[in-house]
Symmetry: D2
Subunit: 339 residues, 4 copies
């Protein structure tokens, strides 16, 4: 039985961790903290846990219980100040904030506008994307989370990174990515039905693309009418023409054995390319492509659930790796159709 603690468990990623871990018979949740909801039952905030959370309640995060794996879901910037301490409570830490994603403290300070206050801990954390860092994650035993937008760019771009001259990333993202705190921009009458450019240039997750793919992209993000999900379209100006077979081969070589990456490109049916709506709740990353020969352009499509593959799901996958378990354990939900 592996013991698990979750610091900051009332947010959406905390809720997803609970959904993924509570049903498992090899995991025991020893602590789920929330300052705002301390003492309240988990199900008050996460009503989908009514059948599986029993009488569990949020506790304070002042005292962190010893556990095998600690997931930290605190706001960006506040984790790094506590990490030294947190690491003493657990054999493994998976931190879902942005604090330990960038291994170069200079890259961090450039994109986050402030120096990293725990830079010496950075080498202890692998970048928590199993497809690219499986061995590091196993070896270091600690992992960062991943940026959800970054993941929707990194996974499709990585295999083609050396073929791309320039890359435009046009991102469409659901409302859950902004977290569970109400604001003017999340107010239903204002948010419903939008296609709202919210980061025309300079999105912070670009830093994770620079780190992982070794190249910068021109990224523009739009808030769209979904709760969960990211759909990213990458427009690659190619260095040299590619054939369709070559693309298939590149993708299969890179991801052929990955349990959570599916190449989606069909000539029949309605779901010919990746679509986030059938990925809700799953840990899949669907990748599709089409060649625009007239313009020597490769169009890559990527869809994920921002809260799962883009956050809690990849984190659980990291935990499975650290513990030597099958990577897919607890992440088997196939998704719903229709939905």
């Amino acid at each position: 039985m592996t013991t698990v603690g979750i610091i900051g468990a009332s947010g959406y990623t905390g809720g997803e961790l609970l959904r993924l871990l509570l049903p498992r018979d090899d995991i025991e949740i020893v602590q789920a903290t929330s300052r705002r909801y301390m003492g309240e039952p988990l199900v008050m905030v996460h009503p989908n846990l009514r059948g599986i959370a029993g009488e569990l309640r949020f506790s304070s995060d002042e005292k962190v219980e010893k556990c095998d794996v600690l997931f930290t879901c605190l706001p960006h910037g506040s984790t790094m100040t506590r990490m030294d301490d947190l690491m003493t409570s657990a054999d493994h830490v998976v931190d879902l904030s942005a604090d330990f994603r960038l291994q170069d403290p200079d890259l961090y300070s450039k994109w986050y506008g402030t120096p990293h206050s725990a830079a010496r801990l950075l080498p202890k954390f692998a970048y928590g994307l199993p497809e690219l860092h499986r061995d590091d994650i196993k070896e270091l035993g600690n992992a960062s989370g991943v940026g959800c937008v970054a993941t929707s760019v990194n996974l499709p771009l990585y295999p083609f990174r050396e073929f791309a001259e320039k890359v435009v990333a046009d991102v469409k993202i659901g409302s859950s990515a902004a977290g569970n705190s109400p604001s003017d921009s999340s107010h239903h009458p204002e948010r419903k039905g939008v296609i709202r450019p919210y980061a025309p240039a300079g999105h912070r997750h670009q830093a994770e693309v620079i780190q992982e793919c070794g190249m910068d992209v021109m990224l523009t993000a739009h808030a769209v009418e979904m709760v969960r999900g990211i759909s990213t379209t990458l427009h690659l100006q190619l260095k040299r023409p590619l054939e369709e077979k070559e693309c298939w081969s590149i993708l299969r070589k890179c991801y052929g054995d990955e349990p959570f990456i599916r190449i989606v490109k069909s000539k029949k049916g309605l779901y010919r390319y990746p679509e986030p709506k059938i990925l809700e709740g799953t840990n899949y990353c669907d990748i599709g492509f089409e060649l625009d020969r007239d313009h020597n352009r490769l169009v890559l499509f990527c869809a994920i659930d921002n809260l799962v593959k883009g956050a809690a799901g990849s984190a659980v996958q990291c935990m499975n790796i650290m513990l030597g378990l099958p990577e897919t354990k607890g992440l088997e939900f196939p998704g719903l159709h229709p939905a």
Copy 2:
């Protein structure tokens, strides 16, 4: 040229008044107040006015400009304390809060839980539903607004009120009815896609039904996935069986000349009964019905736009009546399909 002031113009009903009045060449907006947005251009809050609001800005409501017609859109409870004063600034007042809807101060205190602090002004205000109080509105020169839920019950029920033994009112309502202030319950990830019972019993608008129809109803309201709109289904247990022709005749007799009431009951097409989605932005109240002979039940369907017929549209209709103008002036928008 009629001069108009709007006190509390940054909310959704204030915005609708501006949308309806700014394009009119017989109306001049002399003041639109907002405490929160004082000094900001109207279009910052009401982006749909970009083409028609020019450089107009929100002003303070500390000094109320003289005008012919003053619309007050302040929170419930705060209007009554200022009404004496406000009435000195204008020939006509239309108050969109709940403060002057109930003519009996006892009814008010029963449903709002607090005594009415300006009860002696109540006789100066007509209940602002033109279909039922056209003459009063004209004569008194001041009107309350109407409760949006109340209107979706009153208009279909009124013609049948003497035929009904008991009435269940099952109300479905959009998110704009809760106003423009963000809250946990209006947060997009939580509000999207719900069918959320929010007033199983005891909704305050029942008081307006008691006043207008002379009978109580059993009302349950649900928040549903719309921004604008109310769809109300009334289930009437009839005192005696009715025939379809009789129902048509009752409705036509009551509403045959009403410019904004349409009887919607078709045997063909997709839109056989009232539906709020094709009423967005319009001042229509669509009423339909079906007889359930097995149970001596009459089912009435009503759809309105809560912000228009249920608020600003009826208010403008009242103003038109007070000024001796055609009632439909400025309210001609027919609605969109598809939408």
Copy 3:
């Protein structure tokens, strides 16, 4: 290993059966038929099965393979003509059409307007709602499916059936309930955002309520903006006043041990009553209530996923009962939040 066949597997309920059964290691799918898609891979029609359906393809239903459990998902009316034959292929049949739901052939012919052509088989089928017919299902070894609307009425009403004088059932239902064939009324520009009364009176599922609860209800159904889900509000005129405690006790006595029925009634949080959106993909039936003492009315709220508890999920639960397995096996998905 239990062998399973699915006749009519390309529709939405067939797809749900596949989603629920394919991941199970105690089940082998030996056949999934579709006339329209014969020879095509399952995933062309059910894209959510991409990770779990492997190379499986639809087969013809002309030859029905022997299996332990046969699920039939054919259109209403066409199953009864083949049932004799189908029953020879399997130890157990669960029929998701309406053909074997009504045990009284007269009730069938009254509501479906045509005589039942296999009336003598009716006694071989239990009504497939485990909460009310667990023993029958086990004993007879064959079960009908359940009407989704009927289930959303029967489960909340059953415990209170003797307390109710009259019952209004106001039903809100998602688009998947109409199946996967396009039509004018399912065309996205026309269907999106509606609250469309589609069965003001005389909905066929009332027959299942008469059978199960022994009383008729006044049912009106509305198509609303959801794909999956039913939210039903029952307005019960009570024979005598009930107290809140008594209601709790009645519900607990009836459903206290049921794994898929949850009483949802909270004073805190956003999800105080049942809501379909957090039930997508789950087999739960959430039931809530509120007393309207002024009118001696009990308001019951019920939410289910029409494709799961209202169809495939209950069917799998029946199969588990027939096979002597834990009822919850394969039905553990807790649902998503936010969603």
Copy 4:
């Protein structure tokens, strides 16, 4: 009084023409044809016209009534075969199909895969985008309609066309653009909530961009969760760096006097860039921009209502020009907020 006929009036663009023209007191609709709905009242298909269409019914298109202005809304390919004939019935023709948009018959046959059968009529038609062809429209007296996707690219790109090295056009479009015929892909359970790439490369509207802007673009279109609306993001690789002021100046110079083009770029409020949801039913084209200096990229945002500015609204604007009327006549609807 101008007499107007509409051939093919039961589709969505036909419905929009009726919505825009029926309320006008300077226009008389002499004919609205539909083969499928011949003899039925207009309101059966266009329920939003209930207040303004009176008893008007669809007629056959076999006999085309004489009129001043004839709008043709027939399927692509079928108009050209009848145009000779149609032009004899009216002083002015505005054709909303694709048949007369491309002035070069070779461009037509390249993109539509078939020779143009009425090439000699092409010089009689102006490309019906008033902002770029006001004089032609006036002079020739006949106009094509515009491609809705093309318009969402042409209007923002045109002023910057000489500054762009390469252009990626990432298009998001609502379901009404596919017309009013049901199909598997428009079936609500399948279409709701999608971000579905449907034209990764080679969208036909690119031909109109080549014609109008003199350059090709790399266009990828996605079906998204809207009924009306297009949101297009253009990523321009610039030939030389531009400053923000310069961009403002370029846009103002080109569009400063245009009644239906608004530059939307704010530092405050929620609606800082163009968004289709507040343009439903309006003839506006909102254009915004942001500079990505790190990559010498200009990001242009464009939003329109595909059925209005992208079809019927521009067509009415063309008619106004032909008739010497104010261009905005009948197109004053400002749009709704919230919506």
